[in-house]
Symmetry: C2
Subunit: 199 residues, 2 copies
Amino acid sequence: MTAGLPSVERAIQLFVRFPGIGRKSAQRMIHHLLRRERGEVEQLLQALQALADRVGHCAICHNLAEAEQCWICSDTRREAHLLCIVEEPMDLLSIERAGLFRGRYHVLGGRLNPLGGVGPEQLNLATLESRLRAGQTTELIIATNPTVEGEATAHYVNQMAAPLVSRVTRLAYGMPMGGELEYLDESTVYQALAGRRNF
Amino acid sequence: MTAGLPSVERAIQLFVRFPGIGRKSAQRMIHHLLRRERGEVEQLLQALQALADRVGHCAICHNLAEAEQCWICSDTRREAHLLCIVEEPMDLLSIERAGLFRGRYHVLGGRLNPLGGVGPEQLNLATLESRLRAGQTTELIIATNPTVEGEATAHYVNQMAAPLVSRVTRLAYGMPMGGELEYLDESTVYQALAGRRNF
């Protein structure tokens, strides 16, 4: 229907690739851009160009960074003996929001997914091994997601790390705060029961 | 938390302006962009640049167009005596998808909203008047949205058009197909009742 406008169709196709954006939403977003004064597209172009030009990965932990080191690695107040493994920079932000953890991170850049072409070589494991061999880390916290692939990744990291660090831990699984038993999936309830603690 | 990455924060702020995109979604979209090979950002940049460079408005009906006339105005098979008024190009696409209408359109480019600074001068009404004065139109179908502002716009257009065209109509209001009485708002049920037709 929009066949007459290849540039609109092309933009829609690229927006559909975003997580959680269907064709309808993408179409609405593009039309929103075109509705505004043309300045809206210009601002977006500049912002995306800045992303492409300035944002890279931290040389130490692979978090997003605009400099050689990210804001966590360059913060000398962060404890060096605690190292938390996450899949993606977004996961790191979630842990930071919780406000408890004051150690450092290592961002894997994904999770093992052999069928999807992601093997150990595709993850940031070599730099992790070097960091562990440097010997500062006393506890490695594996905070991959509780999915099949996240679990597989956790096991792989644990096997690699166990000889190099005295303690390897992982996040607790259980009821989410505010969650209701009635609406939780069985495996969450299973984990909450299996991991029960004294009152 | 992302204070260390102003370019990420800037991009998030621009994405939040899209309809239906909250901060969390925007953050996820930007991180998605940064996760891919850098080519993803490049493709998006090119697509948006093409939008800015190529997409303008049809000289006749103000629909989106990459040429002087849109794909509808340049289609000689479309009936010239039927003219349908819509607020935005997206609305035109909805009517096209329905597949019934074979006439032409006039896109107002918004709806009257005096408090928001949108008066009659901000809408494409002058060109509408010229088209009506040209005398080809025998029926003007007002397809603004059934909202307070859309209704006000419909009334304004009707007043302007009535002396110039023999018949002014508007879309029927009533039950949406697949809708259930139980879940519909009162005003829709009211319109469905008021507009009831013989069986």
